[in-house]
């Protein structure tokens, strides 16, 4: 488990990191917390000539309030997101997902932005980010741009981040007072989810007034379950009503078949887990 030799760069600012990316282009890989890249390197599945470590860029860490949003620095660790009071108050769904993400060691090393930029469709943060309508702040040679969550996840391990660009932060609209739940289905605790469902709902007087639902590992990207969301609005937060809406969870999905389950089983799980996630989020 020895990687191919590579050069190591440790920029201390986003500017420096972008300059390094511009210089090395395709030959470079960016490392954040290293929870995915290091195994890839050690198994020699990838052999970049240069690894650019973002760990020394202080401006990429931390969580702040910005009007109606929170801005989470890309290099903020899972642990810090999980334990942040602002996130708990305004984006509870992220806390629910981070709580179940891997294990304590990984949560201390891995980063919020790194996991999203890696774009593993079985990753735990894509579906919550989609559900909350997060925006991705991407820095490039020509300055910064913002990409909506719906446009960020392009394909398996592929995002809207272009060559020479860096994900610097994630802007999460406040969902203050929303109920949230992340229903994750695994065989062993440290596993990627076979299927998971992220749900955030706003309940007014027993009626669901707004709903956001994201699916993990039901296609080549995280998927927003819009049909479910629409069906939920105006419904009572009851088992029967939610069950009807949750049956729509498979719309637009294309789940994989692998060791942990065939596609039809995953489709079934998506419906069951969606119902459970929404009910839990609604406090029902």
């Amino acid at each position: 488990m020895i990687p191919v030799q590579f050069d190591y760069l440790a920029p201390t600012s986003v500017e420096e990191a972008l300059a390094a990316l511009a210089e090395h282009g395709d030959d470079a890989k960016v490392i954040a917390g290293g929870q995915s890249l290091l195994p890839v390197l050690r198994m020699r599945l990838n052999a970049p000539e240069v690894v650019i470590d973002l760990g020394g860029i202080a401006e990429l860490r931390g969580i702040r309030e910005d009007g109606d949003s929170l801005v989470i620095g890309a290099m903020t660790t899972h642990h810090d997101v999980l334990n942040d009071a602002l996130v708990k108050e305004h984006a509870l769904l992220l806390v629910r997902a981070e709580h179940q993400l891997a294990d304590a060691q990984i949560r201390h090393r891995g980063t919020f932005g790194g996991a999203l930029a890696h774009a593993d469709p079985a990753g735990d943060l894509g579906a919550p980010a989609l559900a909350l309508g997060a925006e991705f702040v991407i820095a490039g040679p020509g300055g910064s741009r913002t990409v909506a969550a719906d446009d960020f996840f392009v394909d398996l391990f592929e995002t809207a981040i272009a060559e020479g660009e860096l994900l610097t932060g994630i802007r999460v609209p406040k969902h203050t007072g929303w109920g949230a739940h992340y229903e994750k289905f695994v065989r062993v605790a440290h596993q990627w989810p076979i299927v998971a469902v992220a749900a955030a709902v706003k309940v007014d007087g027993g009626t669901i007034s707004e709903a956001r639902v994201g699916l993990t590992n039901m296609g080549s990207t995280p998927i927003r379950a819009r049909a479910v969301e629409e069906a939920l609005v105006g419904q009572p937060a009851t088992e029967d009503a939610v069950r009807t809406a949750a049956a729509l969870a498979t719309e637009g999905t294309n789940p994989p078949s692998d060791l942990n389950g065939a596609a039809d089983y995953r489709s079934h799980l998506a419906q069951v887990l969606t119902r459970r996630a929404v009910l839990a989020a609604a406090g029902a």
């Binding site: 020895i2 599945l45 398996l156 062993v188 994989p256 799980l269």
Partner: protein, 823 residues
Amino acid sequence: MTAVADKPDLEIGRDRRRKEDQRLITGRTRWTDNLVLPGMLHLAMVRSPFAHAKIVSIDTEAAKQSPNVVGVFTGADLGEAQGACINAWAITPDQVTPPHVPMPSDRVAFAGETVAVVVARTAAEARDAAELVDVEYDELPAALDLKESAADTVLAHPDLGTNKSALWVFDSAEAGTGSSADAAIEKARGDGIVIEREYRQQRLIPAFMEPRSTVVDPTGEQITVWSATQIPHILRFAIAATTGVPESKIRVIAPDVGGGFGGKLQQTPEEMITFAVARKLGKPVKYTETRSESLMTAHHGRDQWQKLTLSAEKDGTVTGLKVELTADLGAYIAIVGGGVPVLGAFMFNAIYKFPAYHFSCQTVLTNKTWTDAYRGAGRPEATYAIERLMDELAIEVGVDPLEIREKNWIKHEEFPFTTVAGLEYDSGNYEAATAKAKEAFGYDELRAEQKQRRESGDRIQLGIGISTFTEMCGLAPSRVLGSLNYGAGGWEHASVRMLATGKVEVITGASAHGQGHETAFSQIVADRLGVAFEDVEVLHGDTQIAHKGLDTYGSRSLVVGGEALVKAADKVIEKAKPIAAHLLEASVDDIEFSAGRFSVRGTDQGLAMAEIAMATFAAHNLPDGIEPSIDSDATYDPVNFNYPHGTHLCAMEVDTETGGVLMRKYVCVDDIGNIINPMIVEGQVHGGLAQGIAQALWEEAVYDDSGTLVSGSFVDYLLPTSADTISFEVDHTTTASTTNTLGTKGVGEAGTIASTPAVVNAVVDAVRQFGVNDIQMPCTPERVWRAIHSGDGGDETEGAAAPHFTEETGMQGQTDRTDGANQ
């Protein structure tokens, strides 16, 4: 010097913390990979990505030009100096055995087989250069599926003409230990009950914590081999026997070894290649495998189909059992190989009084990683089959599964009991263990809850699983092994050295790899010789120090190695007595030994063991004709196996919507005879349970259609962690074994052997009302869900891994994984 005489408490039975744990847990110790020798070179293996292929050519030129590469060798380059990997147990005289050259030069027979080795000054440079070795293969059809391979559809080794290696048969009518199973089954078809089932023992990977590593130093008169092995003595024999290097010129050291579970009970191709390269270059070399290599090429376990027929009278009294196994050997016959299922042959009848028994096992060669011993080795398979069947019989008769067991088991007053398989069980009390387990479990309450959940159609259904197991352990009486054509005996050796300062060195041939021998053996010797626990040092694993031994496996260390130790310690006392008598000016007949003190009967005169040791060292005043040594050794050959047993009860919750399973409660009451160290025993039971539960629920080595190991990393080979298991309730009954001095029975494998059927029985019990009578292991949520909804829980696992680490750029060059076969 007489303080030891005041020692109030016995060491045996004490919860001594393991004296080896400080160094083992911190890792600041002599793991093989920690060794650094002057001028040491490093190896990297070039491995086949194909399950079966002709080697057309190997171009090593580019690798040889790589920085700091010292040499690149193929099988042809090393030739006969590689020796061979041996099969020590041809289970039948006509067993078909493919030759096993550590590094073949013409054809590879499984994905991961080594075809070239690179030697460089650093491990990284060796790995880099290994990617530059250009091997041209001509792919051949691969024998992968066990049943198809048994039908010789595709040949794993075309030259052999068949995949069928050996058919081993035991029949109680022929052996004179019982009547005809076929006749009993025929009769039951007319007027009784016949249960026919086919169960799958999936392929497992031992997955020890420390990957295998070997260092060979050829620069001394003895070639020294350090290896992360369970079997240093057997390894030395095998190297000598197959390379022509005299045994006396080889020293093998198993330093601290980080787990094995049977997985390091092997003479590996990598050890042989490392040995050959060191000799060829005349320099110390090291090879340490990666985790990927370990999962792919270290031997796997289990992998059988079990066809089972049980007959009984209408009231549930068993009348016959017929077992027909098909066992996957993998590409080669490993050191124990086909002997593993044979070790189970005597155990399918378990604790029950079957009057008729027939067992057959067909071993089959395939183009997959070879299989061999894995914790339990043969007995888990047997226990699984019979304990699953007893549940099925209970359903057929319409009684509680505990009741059907009680009806058929050996009553405690019937011991010693000779079974239909010809073994004599010396002791046991199944009634007592079961009663204790039932109470701790809350059996009746859980049955009531189960009934209530069924009646209300609860989404969560509850199942109760039972396993009243026994096993044979303490390998093994040499005469029995001889009668089975095994290539060695089953004795064990021990020495006790009395040092001048009163300290004691104990040498055991049972080489530990994490079990806690140093602690438990110290407790035994402390009591036996009346010395302090801290004063005993246990040495093992080095053929220069522990010159004789048969190593650690088969729950043998305490019951065989411990007995050798008792006998050696007793000899020390006998040798010390005339010296004590002489110094005390008394007759030997008047010397008594108790609590570490030799005293003259009827007087207050006495000497401590340490004083005798010092006097012997000085040798100034010894009786005439007495040698100046009280050191002793003993070699003990057991007269029988021993037979731990126990009752394991498991409650599983099944989410009928998702198929998800959750363990609710696990109680086990094991009877392992007298206990030396309860803490070590509890650790063994906990670990054993986790491993057996893991077979039931999580672990499976899966190959795809091209013979690539799909579950080739811990992402896809699901080992449980503490987050996935519950707190087990472990208790004991004690029926002392009558076949060894300490009255002990083995415990190392008990948890693994017993737990698997308890868990699967519980899962099946939870969903039986949906028409389910079997779910294939591992009982994945998907299988459970499908069983509930279609009654069929037997689908093969999809041979595809999730692409967490493979998709970014695909493969670049040659790696230590074999995904190349998919390109």
